[in-house]
């Protein structure tokens, strides 16, 4: 595994690893690590860094929904054109073209169910190419982006063993 692959893996595991720790773990020097990360960022391979938040543990109410979208295309309009329009909305967290029974898989976030519903009915449904929306509200999140939420994993090994 070369340095860039290793850095990508480590930063996906924890974007807050310090440059020094990344250097220690990969046996590279900190300047090389720094330069490599800058390259990955400037080439658009690394697109950003975000925290994985378990909103259940906070006071703040966040509502998320997965919305299935069906569209019809015409000669002038491609999936890309429709997507380009939808991604403009700040409420939209994820948007993917998928295979199967529907075309786009969209994830929306808002402060309340009402807000999310209104967003879908006022902003998404009226888009001319969209023929159908099916909304699934998240009831509970157990794992997100590879991280298990909820009960903090207890290490039940003996604290000292041979």
């Amino acid at each position: 595994m070369d340095l860039s692959e290793e850095l990508l893996e480590l930063l996906q595991e924890n974007a807050r690893y310090s440059t020094d720790d990344l250097a220690r773990m990969t046996d590279a020097d900190p300047e090389t690590v720094e330069a490599e990360i800058e390259r990955l960022e400037s080439e658009g391979i690394i697109r950003g860094y975000q925290a994985v938040v378990d909103f259940e543990e906070t006071e703040r109410e966040r509502v998320r929904a997965i919305v299935e979208l069906n569209v019809t295309l015409d000669r002038e309009t491609s999936y890309g054109d429709i997507a380009e329009r939808i991604v403009q909305f700040p409420e939209v967290q994820e948007l993917r073209l998928v295979s199967g029974d529907y075309d786009f898989d969209m994830e929306v976030e808002g402060d309340s169910m009402r807000e999310v519903s209104h967003f879908i009915s006022d902003k998404i449904a009226p888009i001319p190419e969209i023929t159908q929306t099916v909304t699934h509200y998240h009831m509970d999140t157990y794992k997100t982006r590879g991280i298990v939420l909820g009960d903090h994993d207890e290490d039940d090994r003996l604290s000292v063993s041979p």
Partner: protein, 381 residues
């Protein structure tokens, strides 16, 4: 009446680890770098195979030597990885952990009064195992000067010429030392010259980071005098499933099986099904765990270097064995536990050569590891 323990039991002092365990258990909220087992769970496929075997009602004893299918897979696996060729019918014994294998071998080849040289610092079970088998343990200390590798000088200094058997373990618990093929050659020559039986605990063979693992049994003239122990505890993170194996010439394995068939009957059946699956499909999981350990190893070694804590470049298992910042390693470990709630094990728990050192296990998640290292740094500054 009160039941008096036998003399053999009386001779064996309580484990140095035990005392530390008790200290650590009194405290909550500790970060432990004192753990001698993986922090991963067994690969999912292996766990599922265990579950399926239970659902199918596979809950009987197996053949004494272990399921044939498993023995065949073990033989194929050690041949492929370590160039060790053993006949699954006569030269492979499936045991309840490598631990049982070591115990059986000692009891099968040691007569009362026989001298068994034990390379130290070492895993805590060997010396008691020798005593329980009626043998006389002869410690062979290794030191940081030789990166805790065994040398013929160390063998001569300890007087191993007259011994009957030699126990060694590379990659090593507690030091993390490994030995390459060429470093093992003079040891093999010594063993041939002085007609020693070699008991080679290679349970950490898959966790060798700087070079491929070499088994001493593959060196010329060694196969017939060596019993190799390995298992699923470390590489496959299956400690609780209690499954290991021993490899050796038919007379040795036969003798061990004679004890095994009366004491253990057979190794856990469920674990044998898990092990079959582990060997068949879990190479990638092992490689991934090794990669994670290696990152942590590099982190730990460079942090120690930056802190000014002397530590030889440990290259195997999941332990580093730095010098204690205080001369008295036990006092240091105790104070570190009390003040910073970080558990490490003093090197004295592992016998001669361990004084003034600490065993630091990096079989712990990166966040905890980093936090523990920060606390150690704070503690010594």
């Amino acid at each position: 009446m009160t039941i008096e323990p036998s003399q053999r039991v009386e001779t064996v002092p309580p484990s140095g680890i035990r005392r530390f365990f008790e200290l650590a258990e009194e405290m909550d909220d500790i970060i432990s770098l004192g753990v001698g087992e993986p922090d991963f769970s067994a690969p999912w496929a292996a766990r599922e195979a265990a579950i399926t075997s239970l659902e199918l009602g596979k809950t009987s004893y197996t053949a004494n030597r272990g399921r044939r299918e498993l023995r065949e897979l073990i033989a194929g696996d050690v041949d492929r990885r370590y160039d060790l060729e053993y006949d699954p019918d006569e030269e492979v014994l499936v045991t309840t952990g490598a631990s049982e294998g070591v115990d059986l071998a000692l009891r099968a080849v040691i007569d009362p009064g026989d001298t068994v040289a034990v390379v130290q610092p070492s895993y805590v079970s060997y010396v008691p195992g020798v005593i329980f088998a009626g043998g006389e343990p002869l410690p062979v200390p290794t030191t940081q000067e030789t990166d805790f590798k065994l040398t013929t000088d160390a063998l001569y200094d300890a007087g191993v010429e007259g011994a009957d058997a030699l126990v060694l373990c590379y990659p090593n618990n507690p030091t993390g030392a490994t030995m390459t093929g060429s470093e093992l050659e003079p040891i093999a020559e010594f063993a041939r010259e002085h007609d020693l039986v070699v008991l080679s605990d290679e349970i950490y063979s898959e966790l060798s980071y700087e070079h491929d693992h070499t088994s001493i049994a593959t060196l010329p003239g060694m196969r017939e005098r060596t019993i190799v122990f390995n298992g699923f505890s470390k590489a496959y993170a299956m400690t609780g499933l209690r499954l290991g194996y021993a490899l050796g010439p038919p007379e040795a394995i036969g003798a061990m099986n004679r004890i095994h068939q009366y004491t253990m009957l057979s190794a856990p059946t469920t674990a044998q099904y898990a092990a079959i699956e582990a060997l068949e499909s879990c190479d990638d999981a092992v490689a991934e765990m090794r990669r994670q350990y290696d990152r942590r190893r590099r982190l730990v070694l460079s942090r120690f270097e930056e802190m000014g804590i002397e530590c030889f470049p440990a290259s195997g298992a999941f332990y580093a064995f730095p010098e204690s910042p205080w001369d008295d390693g036990e006092a240091f470990a105790e104070a570190l536990l009390e003040q910073e709630h970080v558990a490490v094990v003093p090197g004295t728990a592992f016998g001669e050569g361990g004084e003034g050192h600490l065993r630091v296990s990096y079989a712990t998640g990166m966040d905890d590891l980093k936090e523990a290292l920060d606390r150690i740094e704070r503690f010594i500054s």
